[in-house]
């Protein structure tokens, strides 16, 4: 059967910056319980969605650095070059069906467990882990902010190398960047806190 013409609009290609999605169906980032631990299962699952017609298929939260680890909840990871191969399994599967692949780069801050890496998580202030783990974060200084930006940049470049067409900046769900935006959690007195312009600075 042919498509009902009243749905044609859903199948219009959409330009997103330098790339074009084949239609208006967009699988937003979502967790899967697979992430970096089960890359093949994950790649096939995302590939099936592309086959099913979704114009954009995204990863789950994709950690940019070992200080952002959420086990036992499994994120994807782009910590170093060795992660590219696992991520490329997914982008290849998605591209095979003409869809775009998106990577949701993620830094958890006070909401990440770091139970596997044992690293101290950074956030705006020294605060208890909000997921209930018996660890506190440490407050970020300006150098930490510079490092974080560098980690984001490095991970974005790795995402590009892995074949992603869309790279996310993730500022919601009480992870680090959203904590910077939030007037309740962001009590900094420097240029990253205070006015909305200041609170948005890091996301920008």
């Amino acid at each position: 059967m042919a498509r009902d013409p009243r749905y044609d609009i859903l199948f219009e290609p959409m330009k997103i910056g330098p790339v074009t999605a084949p239609n208006r169906f967009y699988q937003v980032p979502h967790c899967t319980g697979m992430g970096h631990m089960r890359p093949r299962t994950l790649a096939d699952m995302r590939g099936v969605k592309a086959e099913g017609g979704w114009g954009v298929v995204c990863t789950e939260y994709n950690s940019i650095h070992p200080t952002s680890d959420d086990l036992p909840h499994v994120s994807a990871s782009l910590w170093d070059e060795r992660d590219i191969r696992a991520n490329a399994l997914m982008t290849d599967a998605v591209h095979e069906h003409g869809a775009l692949a998106g990577a949701e780069l993620w830094y958890g801050g006070m909401r990440s467990s770091n139970a596997m890496t044992r690293e101290v998580a950074m956030d705006l202030d020294c605060m208890p882990n909000s997921a209930g783990f018996p660890f506190q974060t440490r407050a970020m200084d300006k150098q930490d902010i510079r490092n974080l930006r560098q980690w984001h940049r490095d991970a974005a470049i790795r995402a590009q190398k892995a074949g992603f067409d869309i790279v996310y900046v993730y500022a919601t769900h009480t992870y680090l960047l959203s904590n910077f935006l939030c007037p309740r959690t962001n009590t900094r007195s420097d240029e990253y806190g205070g006015s909305l312009t200041n609170r948005v600075r890091l996301v920008r």
Partner: protein
């Protein structure tokens, strides 16, 4: 140094069926949060224990079939031949040191929800399965019983192929279908597998016989059996069916590995039980079997071990936690280095790894779980790379461990603390009810550094920035710890709460320093959720106060579910008469009461009290660090709670890591090897 002759008995070889263990130190099966997901890490962790002298090293539970799998917990797996190479890596490492490798074949039945395989769990009867998962186990048919027996045989043969010397039949911890068949409460069958103990034990007997037939010519077949479920007449008890079963199967296995069940009874913490807490349950076993017996009880004292053997209680000294805290415990006894034993403190932070499905860690042994991925060894550490000197301010868990490990590397270390004793937070916390054994973290390290001429300890030394500069060390380490806050800020309350001046508000630090709350009711507000809130309630109740414990969590000391302590803590609170108000956060405090708020409805509730103890969060002690940053110091590092308040385990690890990494080129990449990328060469 030579071994003290009174310990000779611990080093006698012991025959187990067709094989011989080189001594009496036996690492019983234990989970580790790594299992099948981190095979290289597990193999190296077990290998290090063999190097440390344990004669028998066992795996964690190894699931034999997809219809019984322990996900999300990272246990072992021996489903088909594809699992053999990973397991062979473990047996090879263990054999390298002349030890025997054992595998605990497991079929969890209704103890697992099969979340990964999506298979329907099997059981003796129709019963809910898993840990609160919406899954039910199915009563299996006699044909399926035959299949189950065959899977055990197949797994045993695979285990032999993978190089194991000891093959387990597992009927413990209520984590095995064999135990579910044994259980009067769970086994409702009316055929020859249900009813009498003889019938309920039929499957266990058959699996034992099958396993012996399959691999018994070259492998020892061990039975791990919980002789008591600590459920009185509702469960197996050591003076009833527990004993009957051992008598019934006495000579069938080559070895009896006996303990109590469930896991929270088997792995009791030092807060609730002493070394040897299982002795009264397992003492009878040797009297009814001629086969060797291994038992556990957090044994760390060599004299206790000797008496267990001499009194005819055990043939092997079983250990899980003591072998985690000190993988080299046997070697240290053999070499006459009793003082060097890093004794388990019985805190169960190791258990929390398995509970959360992440690699296990240990408070006493910071190298646990790091043997493969970071190349850390519990006894060896690289020599220093320069003649630099290090000044460490703060002799708590982090500072002590940094000093010890840097001292071992050969660095010149000065450790200073303004207090008159070492220990930092532990000097205070070890005095709290039930936490005395935690002091071993301090005692071990204090002794070790006392033996090092290159480590100097200065107590009562309150250094300021000028003093640090004057001292002139090449590297300055800030290990000044953290203090509890009294503002009310914490997980549930990001902003300070309003507090009227008339109310006495105290912190755990105040209570530990001996401050007495005014007479009347004390409200403990626990937004921390680990042990501190509950332990202070116990202390203040013991001191005669009326105590109310309010927490936003649904249960007392919620995170201690991960250390298997929560049930005991809440029971104790109830028995002590502590009033518990769960699911309430703190809103504000008046002169004579506190206003709580229901976490769901925001309904207000007033609790009259004459003092409030805030167990919410801690602030790092960073005044000295900030002053040194302002002053400028070439090499300045914070470790432990001064960097980010956390567990004692995290503080010790932080200090150890600093010592490992000083002067080493770490690069900028991920600071450890990862299992999947490492295995991906076979992609």
């Amino acid at each position: 140094m030579a071994r003290d002759p009174r310990y000779d008995i611990l080093f006698e070889p012991v025959k187990i069926g067709p094989i011989t263990a080189r001594n009496r130190f036996y690492q019983v099966p234990h989970c580790n949060g790594m299992g099948r997901a981190y095979p290289s890490s597990v193999a190296q962790m077990r290998r290090v224990k063999a190097e440390g002298g344990w004669a028998v090293i066992c795996t964690e539970e190894a699931d034999i079939h997809p219809t019984g799998e322990s996900s999300p917990h990272n246990e072992g797996r021996i489903w088909d031949d594809a699992d053999i190479p990973a397991l062979a890596r473990l047996t090879d490492g263990v054999h390298e040191f002349g030890s025997l490798a054992g595998i605990e074949l497991a079929y969890p039945g209704m103890a697992a929800g099969n979340l990964y395989s999506r298979e329907i769990p099997w059981g003796p009867s129709h019963l809910p399965a898993g840990h609160g998962d919406p899954v039910q186990a199915r009563a299996i048919s006699k044909t399926e019983i035959k299949q189950l027996r065959q899977w055990h045989v197949d797994a045993a043969l695979r285990a032999k192929k993978a190089g194991f010397d000891v093959v387990y039949v597992y009927a413990g911890h209520q984590l095995s279908i064999l135990m579910h068949f044994l259980s009067r409460e769970r086994n409702h069958r009316t055929d020859e597998y249900g009813g009498s103990l003889e019938n309920r034990a039929r499957l266990l007997r058959e699996v034992l016989q099958d396993t012996k037939e399959a691999v018994g010519d070259t492998c020892a077949v061990a039975l791990r059996f919980a002789v008591d479920e600590c459920e009185g007449i509702h469960g197996i008890a050591c003076d009833a069916e527990g004993r009957d079963l051992v008598e019934m199967l006495a000579e069938l296995p080559d070895l009896w590995d006996v303990n109590v069940s469930d896991w929270d009874n088997d792995s009791q913490t030092s807060r609730f039980s002493e070394e040897g807490f299982q002795d009264s349950y397992t003492a009878f076993v040797k009297s009814v079997t001629s086969k060797p017996v291994v038992g556990v009880g957090r044994y760390t004292s060599p004299d206790k071990m000797v008496s267990l053997i001499k009194n005819g209680h055990l043939d092997f000294i079983g250990a899980a936690r003591p072998s985690i805290a000190d993988p080299f415990l046997p070697v240290k006894i053999e070499q006459g280095r009793i003082e060097d034993i890093r004794e388990c403190i019985g805190c169960n932070i190791c258990v929390s790894g398995d509970m959360q499905s992440v690699p296990m860690r240990c408070t006493q042994n910071p190298t646990m779980g790091e043997e493969w991925r970071r190349g850390w060894h519990p006894e060896n550490i690289a020599a220093k790379t320069s003649d630099d000197s290090v000044l460490i301010i703060g002799a708590g868990p982090a500072g002590l461990e940094a000093a010890r490990a840097l001292g071992q590397r050969g660095y010149d270390v000065t450790l200073a603390d303004r207090a008159d004793q070492v220990g930092g937070r532990l000097a205070r916390e070890r005095l709290l009810p039930g936490l005395n054994a935690w002091g071993r973290v301090v005692d071990y390290r204090q002794y070790q550094i006392s033996q090092m001429p290159n480590v100097n300890l200065y107590l009562g030394s309150d250094m300021d920035a000028a003093g640090v500069a004057e001292f002139g060390a090449d590297h300055v380490v800030i290990a000044t710890g953290a203090r509890w806050c009294n503002s009310g800020i914490g997980r549930s309350t990001p902003a300070p709460v309003r507090i009227d001046k008339g109310m006495t508000v105290l912190t755990p630090d105040d209570i530990m320093a001996g401050v007495k709350p005014p007479s009347g009711r004390v409200l403990i507000y626990d937004d921390d959720h680990y042990y501190m809130g509950g332990v202070l309630a116990e202390k203040l109740r013991n001191d005669g106060y009326e105590v109310t414990l309010a927490t936003p969590a649904p249960i007392v000391s919620q995170w201690t579910t991960n250390t298997l302590e929560q049930g005991r803590i809440q029971t104790r609170m109830i028995e002590l008469g502590v009033r518990i108000i769960p699911l309430h956060s703190l809103d504000e405090i008046d002169d004579d009461d506190a206003h709580l708020e229901c976490v769901y409805t925001e309904a207000a509730r007033r609790v009259p009290c004459s003092s409030v103890v805030m167990v919410t969060m801690r602030r790092p002690e960073e005044a000295l660090y900030d002053a040194l940053v302002a002053q400028g110091v070439a090499s300045l590092t914070r470790i432990g709670d001064a960097l980010a308040p956390g567990t004692i385990a995290a503080a010790v690890w932080s200090g150890h890591r600093y010592a490992r990494e000083l002067g080493e080129d770490l690069g900028t990449a991920v600071p450890f090897k990862r299992e999947l990328p490492a295995l991906s060469s076979s992609f």
